[in-house]
């Protein structure tokens, strides 16, 4: 008899102990630690930014040409806020076995994220700062902070993509959709990170 002729239960060897009861939350716990790590990473960058900003005094962000334009930065914030809603919609839908809406919401979230990254490129090009230019200090710090948030969002997109593909494969449902919740958690963290950057850097300057 080949192994293909046997049922799954028949192929469980006798000497292997019974499976441990399913323990939920592992993915969520690990995601929480990942969020903590990125939060502290950004906090570390902000600490250097704030101390350098305080030591620099007036004129940290130049007025006129080369300043940070608030309008695109604010549109980016609105885009991120909308993506937060759609990603939560994806979780809400899968929690009710509404797969179609879950995929639609995940797709919209990707759309908003790509739009955000596109707007980010536009923002930095319009600022026209170069790390080797006159504003080297500010550019180094702001690029590092904004780049970290971009990285967070890209990781959140990959995470959501994996969770969505797993949903497509039938792994997530109303009974178990921990991966989708984890992806949403990381996504919200990326949104909050941008909100802090918008408030502390782009808005207050």
């Amino acid at each position: 008899m080949s192994t293909l002729d046997l049922g799954v239960a028949d192929q469980i060897p006798a000497e292997v102990p019974e499976a441990a009861p399913a323990r939920p939350r592992l993915v969520l716990i690990a995601t929480a630690f990942a969020v903590l790590a990125f939060g502290m990473f950004l906090a570390g960058l902000f600490a250097v930014y704030v101390s350098q900003r305080a030591a620099f005094g007036e004129g940290w962000i130049p007025d006129g040409a080369g300043t940070i334009p608030l309008a695109p930065a604010s549109v980016m914030l609105a885009t991120m806020a909308m993506s937060s809603i759609t990603v939560q919609w994806a979780v809400y839908a899968i929690a009710r076995n509404d797969r179609l809406n879950s995929y639609l919401a995940a797709g919209l979230s990707f759309f908003f994220a790509i739009a955000f990254l596109n707007q980010g490129v536009f923002l930095f090009k319009s600022m026209g700062w170069e790390i080797l230019g006159d504003n080297a200090l500010q550019a180094t710090l702001i690029n590092a902070i904004a780049g970290t948030q971009f990285l967070m969002l890209v990781i959140a997109m990959v995470y959501l993509a994996v969770a969505t593909f797993r949903s497509l494969a039938g792994q997530y449902s109303a009974r178990d959709h921990e991966g989708m919740v984890g992806a949403a958690m990381f996504w919200h963290a990326a949104v909050i990170a941008y909100a802090v950057i918008w408030a502390a850097i782009y808005n207050i300057k």
Binding site: G44, I131, L132
Partner: protein
């Protein structure tokens, strides 16, 4: 089961089923393993090698200090680089990976889990750490460490550091998730074995602090690669990272020492822990006072970075003072446990107790460091403090190795050498610590080539050299004992120490899946309770 494991051959219906051949070869099995015991041994082996390498560098630096007015042993160009390789390396390449290895091997057994959470992530953490270590070393060899002149080497060094910390964090995530999410039936957090609990606290502290180190490294990289407006060429890089090896952050590597102390003392005293809850409070408080990410003097005074500026920070003084209390509490609880029982002092107990005492000495030295009128900032008192904390962590690691060797390697480690190594390491840590703290009182600058010194400093530096040599000897001896034990063919049995916690209820080394039945617990010392009832 890993993707390279061979599937078992028998079925529950007692019919023999031919297993599909999934053999991808030894190398694939090695790289893609999901066995937590094996990943733990990888980390332990790598960490021990890292300890030997970085302690050797420390010894060379201490030897150089014996001729303060001229550079005799080393090249003056590499002196600055070796300081960072000793201090950051001892933590990131030696102590932390070795402790993580111990935890990956032992924590799943202690909490009654069949494996570690995200075993492949843990394996990924190891290989990332290993590759990062290679790049880190290559950076130094190219002359790119902090203070070195090779720009590309510095880039490589920074990348290596980021990979090392990233790998450690991924592996730590596996450990803390195991403690939080995979505890067996009946094991609430209060009943979690103290070593596992201490790894939860240590892992959390590492998660709070090490990402900030990576943030600093990323900034250093961008600045170094482009404008060099923040940190200059490479002279100021170490100042930006030195907080990791300074007070209070350095205590973060010693948090598991308290867990190992709390775990071993009741077993060898043959008594219940005087108070598991209070011990957990002590570990948590110690962890709190070990969060030192905020104590970066380069940030507290950007215009004029100065180590003494921290001495005006009341939180810095409070942390440096209060950290003594949890260590005293842990030692007092250990003493109460010993009094309540009948002590049978074996090698793990001796090393663990000595680790606790050296840690107490370290916190006292740290307390002296934060007293501003003593004027110890910038002197070798910081190096002495570092040596004491690192020595305590190494002693704790050795205690843990001797204690859990049956579960990690399937063999007992030799008792006689174990006792001797504990004493050698403790003496080494104390000499390397006290010698340099005393040198700090004689205003010896924290540099291996400090120039003219006061009378008596030469002798103290010699004491420090002897201490560093003993530390190195102890670690080499421990590694030798582990290698020697692999030839032993005798099985130590399930519970050779009459241990109290779940890891001692399974075979040595553990069976596949760790336990034949899912264990249940109703208190923090389930095996001790079983024996009492019997």
């Amino acid at each position: 089961m890993t993707m390279t494991d061979t599937a078992p051959a028998t079925g529950t219906n007692s019919e023999v089923v031919e297993a599909p051949n999934y053999n991808y070869g030894k190398l694939a099995e090695l790289v893609a393993t999901g066995e937590h015991a094996r990943i733990g041994r990888f980390f332990l082996g790598g960490g021990m090698l890292g300890l030997i390498g970085t302690l050797t560098v420390g010894l060379l630096l201490d030897l150089e200090r014996t001729s303060p007015t001229k550079v005799e042993i080393l090249d003056s160009d590499v002196l600055g680089q070796l300081i960072s390789s000793h201090r950051l390396g001892l933590l990131l390449i030696g102590i932390i990976p070795a402790l993580i290895g111990l935890a990956i091997s032992v924590v799943p057994l202690q909490v009654g889990a069949r494996t570690i959470a995200f075993p492949r992530a843990a394996a990924l953490g190891f290989w990332t750490w290993l590759m990062g270590t290679v790049l880190w070393l290559a950076g130094y060899l190219m002359g790119g460490g902090p203070g070195g002149g090779d720009l590309q080497g510095t880039d490589l060094w920074i990348l290596g550091n980021i990979m090392v910390v990233g790998g450690l964090l991924v592996a730590t995530a596996s450990v803390v998730t195991t403690v939080l999410g995979m505890r067996t039936t009946g094991m609430n957090l209060a009943r979690t074995p103290l070593f596992s609990f201490s790894m939860l606290v240590a892992g959390s502290v590492w998660f709070i602090t090490l990402p900030v180190l990576v943030a600093n490294l990323v900034l250093v990289y961008i600045d170094h690669r482009y404008g060099q407006v923040l940190f200059g060429a490479s002279e100021a890089i170490y100042a930006q990272l030195a907080w990791l090896a300074g007070q209070p952050q350095i205590y973060a590597v010693a948090i598991p020492v308290l867990g190992i102390l709390g775990e071993t003392v009741p077993v060898f005293a043959k008594a219940r822990s005087a108070s598991n809850t209070l011990f957990q409070v002590a570990i948590s408080a110690f962890g709190l006072f070990a969060i030192g990410v905020w104590a970066q003097f380069s940030m507290s005074n950007v215009a004029n970075p100065d180590a003494t500026s921290l001495l005006k920070n009341p939180i810095y003084i409070a942390f440096g003072t209060l950290v003594v209390i949890p260590v005293l509490l842990a030692l007092a609880l250990s003493a109460a446990t010993i009094r309540a029982g009948k002590l049978n002092a074996k090698a793990p107990f001796i090393s663990a107790l000595l680790a606790g005492l050296v840690l107490l000495a370290a916190t006292v030295a740290g307390l002296l460091n934060v007293i501003e009128p003593l004027d110890l900032a910038g002197t070798t008192a910081a190096l002495g403090h570092f040596n004491l904390v690192a020595g305590a962590a190494i002693l704790g690691l050795v205690a843990g190795l001797w204690f859990w060797a049956p579960k990690i390697y399937g063999n007992m480690l030799a008792e006689g050498p174990g006792r001797l190594l504990g004493l050698v390491l403790a003496l080494g840590a104390l000499l390397a610590g006290v010698g340099f703290v005393a040198g700090g009182f004689l205003e010896q600058p924290d540099s291996p080539n400090p120039g003219a010194l006061k009378d008596g400093v030469d002798m103290l530096n010699l004491v420090g050299v002897v201490g560093s040599a003993l530390l190195l000897l102890g670690v080499v001896g421990a590694a030798g004992a582990v290698l020697g034990s692999r030839r032993s063919k005798t099985s130590p049995g399930e519970n050779p120490w009459d241990g109290h916690t779940l890891e001692w209820s399974t075979a040595s080394p553990p069976v596949r899946g760790n336990f034949t039945e899912t264990p249940e617990v109703s208190n923090e010392s389930p095996l001790f309770s079983d024996r009492e009832e019997a």
